[in-house]
Each structure stands twice: as structure tokens, then as C-alpha cells.
């Protein structure tokens, strides 16, 4: 019987022949913790006698959710995490460097065939580079820091085949909202999404990251894509070595499958407060918007801002709207400066926050008041996620977000 990418990966990392449903101990190739869960992981690590980091070159610590520190408590939290990182010789990305997932991808910490553990539910983003990203909790992270190993259940896999090509103005975010509405919020629990198809080949790495990232919203253990030419070209451009990665067998067994025809998709919107409540943007056209957020680990990459700039160049946002941009990393912001996007955005009336998580997790950087509506390119729209629980959060693509900022109303980019 053939194996899925997940089954092959866990067989390699556990040194045993495992299949979906097996429970195994597996070697972690890279571990990441960020400033939400790190304090607990540090406390738990302190309880382990003779606790030494399994391999300091395989760990990164990122200050992204509370960056720059919005309060005394957050500043102190950062100081404690910084001290731990220094004491143990761990790579620390400080405030303003960017969001953990983008930093791990663009700095080559994760690559094809890797098993990566991170204390964040969007760790599945690494699947775009054929790496298997698993979200873990803080206590698990402490054990991984000490041993490099954790227990895992090998997941069943869902096959998602992409066919056809996207129309202009339709993005991979719209594809992700389509599969979320089809699979539902619990449709991926304990499973791995495995993407295939000619439609996938046509997507850039930036676009692919969006699909793996949003897999988190159907409850997955992980999401993964093949290691094709685009993956190695992307890595080569950044001076990273070519890898073969892990391929699924042609007779691999999937728990269920879904085919999405990209050419049939229109821009989508996930309505507050349920992520699987997805309709075409057209159905909501004309509804008022008070704030637009473009950024996050989902849609804060250069491609997203380039696309948004296409709708904002030479225009100004509506008087009734606040437009907040949050690049996912300093590298991305730097390219935005070089390519003149920053000037375009400032002329259009946008605010640009330092690279990091921004308002996505409701901590700081553009929270909402009662009765307001935010169109956001982030990933979650539950009540209270971004400030007031009486604010509506609708999730959209950067294209829909940008054009709607100009009109002040929900507007389809096509």
C-alpha cells in the first residue's frame, strides 16, 4: 500500500514503518517558540532536571505577537524570553524582525522534508516548502527543547487537487476560503491536507504559503505540498541548497478528497464570526467598512502588497476608512521600500506598522470599536479577535481588501 507525504515523513523521522493512525516518537528537525507561549515553555523547561537544549542550532525564538511591546507587562515578558535565549545560546528574532513563520521560511531554517514544531497554530504554513509544520503547546515545546523528540499520531491525509488557473483579481486566499467552506471548520481535525495538481504548479510560493497557512482554520495537524521546481528555485534565489523533498506514492490512501477548479472561483469573503461561512464578495457588495488590515502570516508577503498597490496607486482611501498594513518581515518591508510601494501606500492614506503580528491576535496595533466592521486579510474572525466583541471581522484577500479601502464599502476586485 502506498504512502502519503505524512506517512513517509513520520516513517523517516521515527525510524519505524508507520501509517495513518500509528503513534510514534519522532525527531524534530527544527523548533520555534514565540512570545505568546514561550513564557510557559521556559517555566516548564526549568522543571526538567539537567535540562539542556537538544541542539541550539535547531531552535529559534521569535518576539512577534507583542512587538514592539505595547505594555510594561509585554516588555518584561520580552526581557525574560531574551534572557533565556541568551543564556542558552538560542537564535532570537527581536521586535520588528517579523512573524515567526515568515522568518523561518525566508531564513532557511525550514526546508523540504523537515519536521518542524512550533508553538503556533499556523506552523502548518511550512508545507508550501514541503516541510511538515506541527503546532505544539508550550509544555510539549519544553520537552522538545530538552530532547528534540515528541510523540505524534500519524495523521490521515485529505487530498486537495487544484485544477485550472485563477482569473485576475482572484487569489490563493480565495482558494483557501473555498476549501474551508467545503471541508468545514472541523473537517481537518487530526488530518493533514496534501495539495496536488496542475493548478498548484501555477501558483507562486507566496501564494502556496497562504493555502497551507489557512489549513489551520479547518483544524488540521498540518498541510503539505510537493517539492517541485518552484520550491527549489525559491530556495536557490535565497542561497539555500536544492533538496529532493518527500513525494507521495501514486497509490497513497487518502481519507477523503476535494477538487477545486481555480478558473471557476470568484473573490470570496468569510463572514463574521464563523470562518466557514463563506460567500462571494459580490453578495456583500456595498456594505460599509471602517477598517482594512492587510498583513499577517497569512497575507503579509511582498506579493500581497504588490497586488494591493495595484488597486491603491494614484488613489486615496475613503475618508471613513483606516487602512493598516503590516508586513510579515523586515525583508518584505525593505523590498516594499525599494520598489516604491511604501510611497504608494502613504500617498493613498495608509498606516504601515512594524513587521509582526499587528492587530491579528487582538493584542495591539489597530483594535476595533463597538459596531465597527473590519475587512482583514488575516485568518480568524471570531468575536473579539481584534478588539471589541461587538465588531465584525470579515476575512478577504489583499485584492478585495485594497479596493474596498478605496471605496469604503465591501467591493469585489473583479
Amino acid at each position: 500500500m502506498g504512502k502519503t507525504i505524512a506517512e513517509k515523513l513520520f516513517s523517516m523521522k521515527s525510524g519505524m514503518d508507520v501509517n495513518a493512525g500509528s503513534i510514534c516518537m519522532a525527531q524534530v528537525d527544527f523548533a520555534m517558540m514565540h512570545d505568546v507561549n514561550a513564557p510557559f515553555a521556559i517555566d516548564a523547561f526549568a522543571e526538567i532536571e539537567d535540562g539542556r537544549i537538544f541542539d541550539t542550532s535547531k531552535v529559534a525564538v521569535v518576539l512577534d505577537h507583542f512587538s514592539p511591546a505595547p505594555s510594561y507587562d509585554a516588555a518584561q515578558r520580552h526581557k525574560n524570553i531574551e534572557n533565556f535565549s541568551k543564556q542558552h545560546g538560542l537564535k532570537l528574532y527581536g521586535p520588528g524582525e517579523g512573524i515567526c513563520h515568515q522568518l523561518l521560511l525566508e531564513n532557511g531554517h525550514v526546508g523540504p522534508g523537515d519536521l518542524v514544531a512550533g508553538t503556533d497554530s499556523h506552523t502548518c504554513s511550512y508545507g508550501a516548502l514541503n516541510a511538515f509544520g506541527l503546532s505544539v503547546g508550550a509544555t510539549e515545546m519544553a520537552v522538545i527543547l530538552a530532547s528534540g523528540v515528541c510523540w505524534f499520531r500519524v495523521p490521515e491525509s485529505v487530498s486537495i487537487e487544484l485544477v485550472g488557473a485563477l482569473h485576475d483579481g482572484v487569489t490563493s486566499k480565495d482558494i483557501s476560503l473555498e476549501f474551508i467552506s467545503k471541508l468545514t471548520e472541523a473537517g481537518g481535525v487530526y488530518k493533514s491536507l496534501e495539495f496536488h495538481g496542475a493548478g498548484l504548479t501555477s501558483l507562486t510560493i507566496d501564494s502556496r504559503i497562504v493555502l497551507c497557512n489557512m489549513a489551520s482554520e479547518v483544524g488540521v495537524k498540518s498541510a503539505v505540498m510537493p517539492c517541485d521546481k518552484a520550491v527549489n528555485d525559491w530556495r536557490a534565489e535565497r542561497g539555500m541548497p536544492v533538496r529532493t523533498g518527500i513525494e507521495a506514492d501514486s497509490d497513497a490512501v487518502y481519507s477523503n478528497s476535494l477538487t477545486i477548479d481555480l478558473s471557476a472561483l470568484k473573490p470570496k469573503i468569510a463572514l463574521s464570526p464563523v470562518i466557514e461561512d463563506v460567500v462571494d464578495v459580490d453578495e456583500m457588495a456595498g456594505a460599509p467598512v471602517h477598517q482594512v488590515v492587510i498583513g499577517s502570516c497569512t497575507n503579509g508577503r511582498y506579493e500581497d502588497f504588490e497586488q494591493a498597490a495595484g488597486y491603491l496607486r494614484g488613489r486615496h482611501i475613503a475618508d471613513s476608512v483606516r487602512l493598516i498594513l503590516v508586513p510579515a518581515s523586515r525583508q518584505i518591508l525593505s523590498k516594499m521600500v525599494q520598489e516604491g510601494l511604501v510611497q504608494t501606500f502613504l500617498d493613498a492614506g495608509a498606516m504601515i506598522l512594524p513587521p509582526g503580528c499587528g492587530p491579528c491576535a487582538g493584542i495591539h496595533g489597530g483594535l476595533m470599536a463597538d459596531g465597527e466592521v473590519v475587512l482583514s486579510t488575516t485568518n480568524r474572525n471570531v468575536q473579539g479577535r481584534m478588539g471589541s466583541k461587538k465588531a465584525d471581522i470579515h476575512i478577504v484577500s489583499p485584492a478585495t481588501a485594497a479596493i474596498s479601502a478605496v471605496t469604503g464599502k465591501i467591493t469585489s476586485p473583479i
Binding site: M25, G137, V143, G384
Partner: protein, 167 residues
């Protein structure tokens, strides 16, 4: 071991960890300060009605979304007797087991706020004696049960460190 506690019912599926504890409380320097804000978004005043030993019941995919360990940790620190759901999200399940929180999976129905819930994991049932209701609870799989019996992942790791190696 048998536990008995008063029911607090959240009759919804996909109860998000943002609803267990909102992002606005993640930055508290003293984690205990966040406990009174549990379930604040869904059920204002929840903590005033809650007493240690009480039991929460909810639907499918409890704890969806963020893997913030604050969610199970605050529930544990609140003194909760058990969290009962038709199923758990992967992140909440792992974190809960790793912290030694009692997580009970069962297809419960007709339970309402204030009912006295009796749980016996060894015998595998959850019951409401007053309503003559009884439901079978699902057994924890393999290592999850061992971790739970050890009281969480840290004690388990300390006792079984040799298992955390790849040969």
C-alpha cells in the same frame, strides 16, 4: 476515580480557544489574573457562576483555532473538574492532556446548566443520575492515557526520558 460536578453547558460546535480566553488577556504578567475572564466573550459573568469542581460540556471540535496553552492552563488553574466535549481540537486535546487536565469525549445530550454530572473514566461513563441519563465515554488512545495517568507530559517525560530518543 469518580468525579461529580455542576454542569455549565456551551451547546455549540467548534468553540474557539479565542472564546475560552481572548487574545486581550494573553499578555497578563500573572497568568492567574486572566482566570476571571474565561469564556467572557460567550458567557458574560461566567466566572461569577463558576465554582471549582464544576464541569464544562460542549460540542464537536472544542478548542478550535489557536493552540495558546493559556486555554487549558487557565481552565486547570480555575479548578475545573473536567472538560466534556463530543470531540476536541488537536491543539486543545494535546495541551490539555499534557497539562493533566481531565478531557472527556462522549456524545452527550439533554444536559443543561446546573445538572449534577458524574464521570467515571475507569468504567467509561458519564451520567446525570437525576435525569437517569448515561453516556459512554471514549477511552484515551495509547500514550495519551499514560501521559494523563502520570499527571501530564512533564512528569511523564521525567519518568520515561529514555523513550524520547530515536533509535
Amino acid at each position: 476515580m469518580e468525579i461529580i460536578g455542576k454542569a455549565h453547558v456551551f451547546p455549540v460546535d467548534n468553540l474557539n480557544s479565542d472564546y475560552i480566553i481572548s487574545g486581550r488577556y494573553l499578555g497578563k504578567a500573572k497568568i492567574d489574573d486572566a482566570i476571571p475572564h474565561l469564556f467572557e466573550e460567550l458567557s458574560p459573568g461566567f466566572f461569577d457562576r463558576f465554582s471549582p469542581g464544576d464541569i464544562i460540556l460542549s460540542g464537536w471540535n472544542f478548542g478550535a483555532g489557536s493552540t495558546r496553552e493559556h486555554a487549558p492552563l487557565l481552565l486547570k488553574k480555575s479548578g475545573i473538574g473536567a472538560v466534556v466535549a463530543k470531540s476536541f481540537s488537536r491543539g486543545f486535546f494535546r495541551n490539555g492532556i499534557n497539562l493533566g487536565l481531565l478531557l472527556v469525549e462522549t456524545d452527550w445530550m439533554n444536559i443543561t446548566d446546573g445538572d449534577l454530572v458524574k464521570i467515571n473514566m475507569e468504567e467509561g461513563y458519564l451520567s446525570i443520575p437525576e435525569k437517569e441519563l448515561s453516556f459512554k465515554t471514549r477511552k484515551l488512545a495509547g500514550i495519551a492515557e499514560e501521559i494523563h495517568k502520570s499527571g501530564g507530559l512533564l512528569p511523564y517525560f521525567k519518568q520515561h526520558r529514555e523513550q524520547f530518543k530515536i533509535r
